[in-house]
Symmetry: D3
Subunit: 254 residues, 6 copies
């Protein structure tokens, strides 16, 4: 895995600045990556400590885009990107910038779920983020595949706290989705839940899907298929232009 010229290099961007979560995400990604795939898990140098609102999500995007343009400027070869926040922040913009394919974890998890059963339910952190999950389900085409979206009301950074009840709350909500909403699979609605995936799956008796794993597999698939984002028009490289003020460094040149 050290000879980078031969490996597939997947960069997994945790869009918040919590390094503990970045490590957890990296571990999940490596658990599913193929032989010869290198996972580079990073957090951007700017942005929110966690993403729990439309406000946080919007402001996580500059950091994600910085990570991608920076790779380009440094000449660092990255074969594909994963955006590891369940709101898939900045996915369209990232696709305009990155040389290789970019996959969001909500996108990948929902796609995978539809191949495993008729309906999936999402269990996420805060109730205020469930609207975004529904928006994404609609956007990706899965409005009718999504049976329900539940929130355990545990903030993102408390998921991993010792003694946290997050795991049992999530399991209870997943059971409700299975029993009341006829969900065939459960999609975990936060990258910070990746470590719970296999245990929950065993306890619940249905597939439980971690988006980080799904996204790594899908971006690897695209890389091996030798395809990347279409450059036809919408996702062509943005036109160069001046950026002002605090965001001046984001101005693209030819």
């Amino acid at each position: 895995v050290t000879d980078s010229a031969l490996t597939t290099r997947i960069k997994v961007i945790n869009p918040n600045t919590s390094l503990a979560m970045t490590r957890l995400i990296g571990t999940a990604a490596r658990g599913v990556a193929g032989v010869g795939t290198e996972i580079i898990a990073v957090s951007p140098p700017m942005g929110p400590a966690s993403i729990e609102s439309h406000y946080d999500e919007a402001l996580a995007v500059p950091g994600i885009l910085h990570e991608i343009t920076h790779d380009g400027m440094l000449g660092e070869r990255i074969d594909g990107y994963v955006i590891a926040c369940f709101g898939d922040p900045g996915l369209d913009a990232a696709r305009e910038l990155a040389a290789g394919p970019v996959v969001g974890i909500a996108e990948a998890a929902m796609h995978a779920a539809t191949m495993l059963g008729r309906r999936f339910s999402v269990v996420t952190t805060l109730g205020r983020t469930t609207g975004r999950a529904w928006d994404l389900a609609s956007h990706y085409g899965f409005r009718e595949h999504c049976a329900s979206v539940y929130a355990c009301e545990v903030p993102v950074l408390e998921l991993e706290e010792p003694g946290s009840e997050a795991s049992s709350l999530i399991e209870a909500l997943a059971r409700r989705a299975i029993d009341e909403d006829e969900a065939d699979c459960i999609v975990l609605g936060c990258a910070g839940m990746a470590d719970l995936c296999h245990r929950l799956s065993q306890n619940l008796g249905v597939p439980v899907i971690d988006g980080v794993s799904a996204a790594v597999g899908m971006v690897e698939t695209l890389v091996r298929m030798r395809v990347s984002t279409s450059r036809r028009e919408e996702y062509a490289r943005p036109r160069p232009k001046v950026y002002e003020g605090l965001l001046e460094p984001f101005g693209l040149t030819v």
Copy 2:
């Protein structure tokens, strides 16, 4: 219109940093504002010179949010906001922050169009932005009301250039939408086209809708109805948290 305690104060945010366009937008807004409504047209102190990609749009959002939080910090009373870029950037996040209602110009224009005929078509600037227009039409519920989206391929900041052919290109595309796609109305797909609205409407013989005017009217309506964004859950004020690096000023406190 000077006694601000009695007036309705609508802030119209042009999310790019082009002041000429901000002036044009302000003029359009004042043309439709009611007696006793003050229009404050502004550009943020940061961000792209124009918005012509998902990348530009994502990076226009911090400036929009800055404008709103800044009003809050200064204790400046703003009764409602208009986001004056046809991609409606940052609309959800702005709704979390602003005390009063927030309306996007694509949103307002599409809503207005559906009250004037069965189908509308959008004529916008660059082809690469048509995807966003379709996304918004779907998101607002108007996928089947939107007959087509055309691009004149004139960049935003060249719309106003002396000798620009933008106006005749837009008119030709609008005619095509009317003749081939059975569009009953035309929606102008860029705030920078606001000044063309009445002449195009006369030439084409169908309603032509400028989103700035529509949004000012709709946000005024909401203000007079004494309603604002629901605070139930999704659009409640974001949780306070630390922001890092370049975006450190965006950290909210209690």
Copy 3:
């Protein structure tokens, strides 16, 4: 407001023949109308005492159309019309006839609701009318924005009776919509509920929307934008023709 040449004149048609409700509707309309807007609230001289079925709704339409053609024949300038019954009866036909824009109160209320939150619920009078509310939500594009439609089972003309429990029944159903269906806003499903709007909003803590107010604001917006119904084809003036029997007076001439 007396110099009609300078004012905007909005005619609000209560399609039933109950004058007490017409007065209540007029009051709601004036509460939101801009400076310089005159509200003319009327009931037609023919039709049902209240509208509580498809049958009543269909038979309320001749009176609405009579009001509009009569204005035309008398040369009375009306800048825009509001149809103030939550089934939006005769809206398409009214648009063919009226010189200015026409807005229905269900239409306006639903449009406004989608700008204030992700989901709205409707609370209406009789259960037998909820189907029509769903049809309108679908027709306007808001099927997925509409979380639920509830009926308080109080007939229209009993809403205002002294000692009526309508208000508390409506509030209870609204709470259920908020708690169980995650409604962000409540839409009042009858023009006769307009006077309850502000108190319900305060009690419930979410926006409550009266369609009469919303429609007056929206039709004013369209008038100020100087746009009206597209005359392209579907909404052109109907072809003149003979009408027979009881409906002979409805025959249009060139």
Copy 4:
């Protein structure tokens, strides 16, 4: 077919007052009716000479409803009704009133078409009525089954005129639908086209569907199944109430 106690009696209401069209519709209906089914084809004593706008359609409804209530008052047994205008005017209201099932000809034709191929196209009279056809397709669930709606721009009452080019215009549009829009079947968009059905079908080589025939067959099917409109709530008999003015005769009593 004379012993009415043993026959199934289907009343086919031509909602316009043109008796020549009523005769044509009656002939089409009898051509498909089963042994032992009596067709009663009528025109109402009030309403428009033809239906070519939302205005005409709305004002055709009182006559339709009059026909049904009159049957009830006279104690005349009618086992099922067909509303023989392609806009299906007053269908919901008619279902509230009639003792037996009621089927519209657009409804029946579209249902039949979906059983004969993947896509159908409608060929109708005037362009201004195509919007209504799309609305009905959506309402019945067939938005994606409907490939296109074309208008021959021949007014309803000129379809039958000697020397009319209607037939060849309709055939040309049908061919366009088949060739360009991949229509598998053609739905005739006006009851007045019923007599063209078989010849067009032979010329075009695909099924051509006359809604009058389809509706008679479907209402007969429902009668033989011994089912009628559900009386659960929405389609229960309307509440009795006072009607005023010209429409006073429409007031229902208990």
Copy 5:
């Protein structure tokens, strides 16, 4: 009914091999068939004893297709076919083969239900088949007309057993659909329930629809309209080709 040259001959294929169910289906079909219509109820000589999974359904299709090609080879005139299993197995393939129209019982029942009320619910046998019912509702255009799908968890071949509680279980689920899901009609989700139809309808007070009856009526309607499946492209006769192994007899020749 004996002079087959004059009769309409409808073949009703029970796709499972249970002859008791074939008899029950034949009785239901004859109960609704018109004077002069002959019902030929059959079971194929191959396939599953009952259809309770995607596996069973897929493997019921060869037998259905055998029945149709066999009629063709024997020169037996069949004017139309009904596929009498609620999953509508092999419907598209059958339409390619049969000379006359082919209707499935789920298709016919759902179509009929939408003419009798706003919403229908399906009550079927096993929970594992409810997904197929939802797929069909979507496919036919009735996703929004279908309020719910319930399963009584009685296997198909136990429906008719003496002492079976199927009838009371089905009635209880139907009541739940009416009370909780606002279903206006009930669709019976298995051909083997046809004999329960009228009693359930009386007990529940809403229309209960047996798909066998509905399909016989609809296919008769199509035959009398002298239309059959469009041969334009998709449903043209399949190209002749070699079949191998066990399925060698299915190879079509020119």
Copy 6:
């Protein structure tokens, strides 16, 4: 790749009996498979020589199901299955039977396409199969992502013939999709086109997607995620039962 205990074993079923195509499919599959993944490409011992109609597709299913049950009976470990025909025949039934995940090539190709651009178009073999492609797009949630489906009218088994114009016909249709329908990517609508993928992609300048490659990547992803089809209800193992006649060998036992 020889120590089968350590490898991931993916069985790729070509549902027709043409071995040349099976070899081509195996080559495409191996081109994308990860290190340590063994591809077993097979054709069933029964069924059609090629799949070009609903009839062929329905009769390809027994062979597919035979392949899966046979693996089970022989105790052969297969970690995941790919169904390599663009109609995804028997996918639901295969999921009930197989121990590991099952992915169809149309499914996988469409999923992949949506991660590479806004719209994809399908280019397939015969026009009569385009309906099935639309059905699948709808079923998987991608109706609005699918811009068009074109057919080159080359039968499946002639795609590979020396001197075939298939490749240039496909390229011309793909260009039309890109230019006229704004397709961002092209999906190849037949497993027999897999070998054209990379060259077409280079010629067209947009991603061209071969479903075999996409499906192998996706099923590998699911296997590495350690998830398989949910056994909750719909996709549980079918109930054992007797099968009769020609299909007697398909009867499952406990």
